[in-house]
């Protein structure tokens, strides 16, 4: 019965149309806008639950498939479907968005209905990226996402928001249009935009290398990898809380998803040929950016750099399998990719939680500078408990979700090269250093000033948001099996194809 409904279309278009409706309600009926937005985002979460319930773990085939002609002139189809790689990311999206909507009721006053509309539309578009099985449809969703995010940062951001948002847009647009040229080239070779056909399309190594580089431009900017990461700290610092949350929790994951969905299967031999580059850049992200994070005096910037370091683990997990297999091992490859995926989901929750924490403080003090805080735990004990939990998760403490992914990736890296594993392992030190130092400076010590002394603890709304995220973080940390099971068959199928190559 569940499969009779076009669930994927519903989960994409319901938030988009809901967003339009909230926009149409206008600023004068903003209370209704809040209710409608919450209702829509919760309905989307229910639809996500239905997807999960109806999903079959035992097959790598696309499920919930919908296929209708879209643009006949390009042989492009409105073709949706999910596998075990897309589903966790969709679930992440539908779980985080309601929290952003809930948080908005308290912290956003200016043009609140436009704010809510932008986030709902974002939600639908991002799910569209994860669900698209047609390269053109994928691209349309991929680019469309820039418009609401551009407005979110620019309208509700901090003092330097215009610079940040234009930089964000131009950086990501630059990467995307190169991907577009690559997709057009592929379309010309294959005669279709169907992703499955493109994955089977035979390509020479030179072609693959060029296409891989074009994809790299799009995905490396998005995820982001060193050295094209510079837009991210700016965007995060200037974005409003909700914008930072969505940016860190979901949009960065789109880059990782792009590597898995397009780069690896379409250009496997180029990925193999350039695995040293990808692994090297991932390690730079983990080690160098870890040090950069240590030096930050702005809380949001610190978390932004920590995001880059954590996403380095995801890319390490996606590209190290080639080295593992080259060393004669085969078992570690799947663990590496799964570890990268778990890392993405975990980081989605952890970074969202940390940005919410900063948002809680910012709403009260209107400062993101670490130096303005100190001794917050004295006045906000409940908040402090949550923040310590999320900081631990960010540092990769066993029992939290942050541990699972990092552990899997490091373990797999040992099978490739002990030095890579060692370098990756430095995150356990660096991550702990910058996160715990942040906690120490903000939460502990003497009450720093009168404004900190006047702080009041979490409201019920904030408690609900952080509580929900804490459940997710601990849940994945203590019992990651359901998440890993969801994706393992799809990951195996992906690796079977990728490691054979096209040549």
């Amino acid at each position: 019965m569940l499969t009779d409904l076009p669930l994927l279309s519903l989960i994409i278009w319901l938030p988009i149309l809901g967003g339009v409706a909230v926009f149409a309600l206008g600023e004068s009926r903003v209370a209704w806008g809040h209710r409608l937005a919450l209702l829509v985002s919760l309905l989307a979460a229910v639809l996500g639950g239905m997807l999960y319930a109806g999903f079959d773990n035992s097959t790598a085939a696309m499920q919930f498939v919908e296929r209708t002609a879209w643009i006949e002139a390009f042989d492009a189809w409105y073709y949706l479907g999910i596998d075990g790689i897309a589903l966790p990311l969709i679930l992440l999206t539908v779980l985080v968005t309601p929290l952003v909507v809930i948080a908005a009721a308290q912290s956003v006053r200016l043009r609140a209905s436009q704010y809510l509309a932008a986030f709902l539309i974002m939600e639908g578009i991002m799910i569209g990226v994860f669900a698209a099985r047609d390269a053109l449809l994928f691209y349309v969703f991929w680019e469309a996402m820039l418009i609401p995010m551009f407005l979110i940062i620019g309208l509700w951001g901090g003092p330097n928001r215009v610079y940040a948002t234009i930089k964000f847009f131009l950086f990501t647009f630059f990467g995307s249009v190169l991907m577009l040229v690559a997709l057009i080239y592929l379309y010309r070779q294959a005669g279709t935009f169907d992703l499955h056909t493109l994955q089977q399309l035979p390509l020479g190594l030179t072609e693959q290398l060029w296409i891989f580089m074009a994809f790299f431009a799009a995905f490396a900017v998005k995820i982001p990898m060193w050295p094209v990461h510079t837009w991210l700290p700016d965007a995060h610092v200037e974005a409003p809380t909700g914008g930072s949350v969505i940016l860190a929790a979901i949009m960065l994951k789109l880059g990782g998803y792009g590597f898995i969905r397009l780069s690896l299967p379409i250009t496997p031999d180029a990925a193999m040929a350039l695995d040293w580059l990808m692994v090297g850049l991932s390690l730079i992200a983990i080690v160098y950016i870890g040090f950069v994070a240590l030096a930050q005096s702005d809380m949001k910037k610190l978390i932004a750099y920590s995001s880059i370091a954590h996403m380095g683990f995801a890319t390490l997990g996606f590209f190290i399998p080639f080295m593992i297999v080259a060393g004669g091992e085969t078992t570690g490859a799947r663990m590496a990719v799964e570890g990268g995926m778990v890392q993405m989901i975990s980081h989605g929750f952890v970074s969202a939680a940390l940005f919410f924490c900063v948002g809680v403080l910012y709403d009260r003090m209107h400062s993101r500078q670490i130096g303005d805080y100190g001794g917050v735990a004295n006045t906000m004990p409940v908040f402090a408990a949550f923040m310590v939990l999320f900081a631990m998760a960010n540092a990769g403490l066993p029992g939290t979700s942050g541990f699972v992914g990092e552990f899997m990736v490091i373990l797999a890296s040992f099978r490739a090269n002990i030095w890579i594993a060692l370098l990756a392992g430095t995150t356990l030190v660096l991550g702990a250093a910058y996160t715990l130092w942040l906690v120490k400076r903000v939460l502990y010590g003497e009450v720093a000033n009168e404004r900190v002394a006047a702080l009041h603890d979490l409201s019920r709304r904030e408690f609900a948001i952080l509580g929900a995220l804490a459940v997710a973080v601990l849940g994945i940390g203590l019992w990651p099996a359901p998440l890993v099971d969801m994706m393992s068959v799809s990951v195996s199928a992906l690796l079977d194809q990728v490691l054979v190559g096209k040549l």
């Binding site: 349309v140 551009f150 928001r161 948002t165 131009l170 647009f173 249009v177 040229v181």
Partner: protein, 484 residues
């Protein structure tokens, strides 16, 4: 299909019915306007719209086969392509009239001349579209251009307007001269003015005739002037800037479709065998237009000038479709032209909406804080701007995709890469417009002008940019079907 008798036979008038109707209707408007006193100029407006609508009905009523019909001794053709383009031109002209009325009425410009000249220039465009013959082509071109020259000078007390009109006229006349000179050489070499015969003559030649290459150079230069491709673009920013905004709206919209028809009929239908020769010139012009259009626009503070340079950039993309040299490429260029007209109507329409009595909203700063003044029209303009930048899900993306796909297929991958880089650079100034509308505070809070008719049409204009972007299939198929 046609008998070539020495005795006189009555030609088939039916294919030219729309043109004849429009000619008659324009004369009626001209006469009727004399009897309407100033405050009843609305009747002239209504009558002009009826004239355009009636012409569209005539176009729709005509049936043509797959290959079209020729008449008037093969000097007039009506095919699928012509029907599609005529409908687009008529729709664009009607939109111009709706958008302009309020603006003209608020100034001392609400005269019958605007309407009659617009109708006659529309007639010229229709003639160009249906021209399989050099003379018909030239006739239509001059009819269109002369009316436009006069329209630019509509506000006779404006020094900028007079300067723009003078520039437009002198440069336009030079362009026409170049074109005519090229045509005369073609006639001298091939002995025919009819495009299919010219094509047959060139095709039959074993070696490329040097005279034809010379003629081609003149023809292409003339066309480039009319289109505004770099390095023949100098008139365009000044004319866009100097003309009254409704006239800029007119020049910026429907004539681009006629420009496509001009290039298609002359170079593709007439001289496709010289493809390699004109392709190389087009590549150069396309590259220069892309660069100039995207870079120079950044420095503009006047939105009409900015849109003028943006037009030049768009022409660079449009030329890509011709560079591909396949019917797929030509339909992509046609699609691009249609989409461009839709976007230009929205953008210039917004300037008209923001202007009011004694106030011209033609500086970028006048868009400041539009979101606070009217969230809906800010959204409309946002869609138009992102469409011009080529960001999905708007129709502008599919237009760029179509031409890029065509040039990639023709083996010009580097040109496609250059195109997308130009798109990134130009995204910057479109984003700046969005930034002004959304992120800045308004400077004046006067309510927006414009009647309900204009508001509804402008809103549909914006919605069309989005909806066609989500479902571009039908329009794409129509443009592909139009080009055999």
């Amino acid at each position: 299909m046609q008998e070539q008798n020495t005795t006189f036979t009555m030609p088939d008038f039916l294919p030219a019915l729309p043109e004849m109707f429009l000619l008659g209707a324009a004369c009626v408007v001209l006469l009727a306007d004399l009897f309407f006193p100033g405050r009843n100029r609305g009747l002239t407006w209504l009558l002009s719209l009826v004239a355009l609508a009636g012409t569209a009905v005539c176009v729709l009523a005509l049936e043509v086969g797959e290959h079209g019909v020729m008449t008037f001794s093969n000097t007039f053709v009506l095919d699928q392509l012509a029907i599609l383009m005529k409908l687009a031109v008529l729709a664009a002209s009607a939109t111009v009239l709706v958008y302009s009325r309020h603006y003209l009425a608020a100034r001392d410009l609400h005269r019958g001349e605007f309407y009659t000249l617009t109708l006659f220039s529309t007639l010229g465009m229709l003639v160009i579209i249906s021209a399989p013959h050099l003379l018909t082509l030239y006739l239509g071109l001059e009819l269109m251009s002369l009316c436009l020259y006069a329209l630019v000078a509509l506000n006779r007390d404006s020094a900028v307007g007079a300067e723009a009109a003078m520039k437009y006229f002198v440069l336009g006349a030079i362009a026409s001269g170049l074109l005519l000179y090229g045509m005369s050489i073609i006639y001298g070499v091939t002995g025919s003015l009819q495009l299919d015969e010219i094509a047959a003559f060139i095709g039959a030649q074993e070696e490329r005739h040097l005279g034809l290459v010379l003629a081609l150079t003149f023809v292409v230069a003339g066309l480039a002037f009319k289109l505004g491709a770099v390095p023949f673009h100098m008139w365009l920013p000044d004319v866009y800037h100097g003309a009254p905004t409704p006239v800029t709206l007119l020049i910026g919209s429907a004539p681009k479709i006629a420009g496509f028809a001009l290039v298609f009929r002359l170079l593709v239908e007439g001289m496709e065998h010289l493809y390699v020769d004109w392709r190389d010139i087009f590549i150069l012009m396309s590259v220069l237009s892309l660069v100039a259009g995207s870079v120079v626009a950044i420095a503009q503070t006047n939105i009409k000038r900015m849109l003028a340079y943006s037009t030049i950039g768009h022409i660079g993309f449009l030329l890509m479709g011709f560079i591909a040299g396949t019917s797929e490429g030509y339909s992509a260029a046609l699609f691009y032209a249609l989409v461009y007209v839709l976007m230009a109507l929205g953008a210039f329409g917004m300037i008209l909406l923001l202007s009011r009595k004694d106030f011209e909203a033609d500086n970028l700063d006048d868009l400041r804080g539009l979101n606070a003044r009217s969230p809906w029209f800010a959204l409309v303009m946002l869609l138009v701007m992102f469409s011009m930048a080529g960001v999905p899900p708007t129709i502008g993306f599919h237009a760029k995709l179509a031409v890029l796909s065509a040039v990639v297929n023709a083996g010009f991958l580097w040109l496609a890469v250059l195109g997308v880089i130009a798109a990134i650079v130009s995204a910057f100034y479109y984003l700046r417009v969005v930034k002004l509308m959304y992120f800045d505070e308004p400077q004046d809070n006067a309510p927006l002008s414009g009647g309900i008719d204009m508001r509804v049409l402008l809103s549909s204009n914006g919605i069309a940019v989005l909806v066609l972007g989500l479902m571009p299939g039908a329009l794409l198929t129509a443009t592909i079907a139009a080009i055999p």
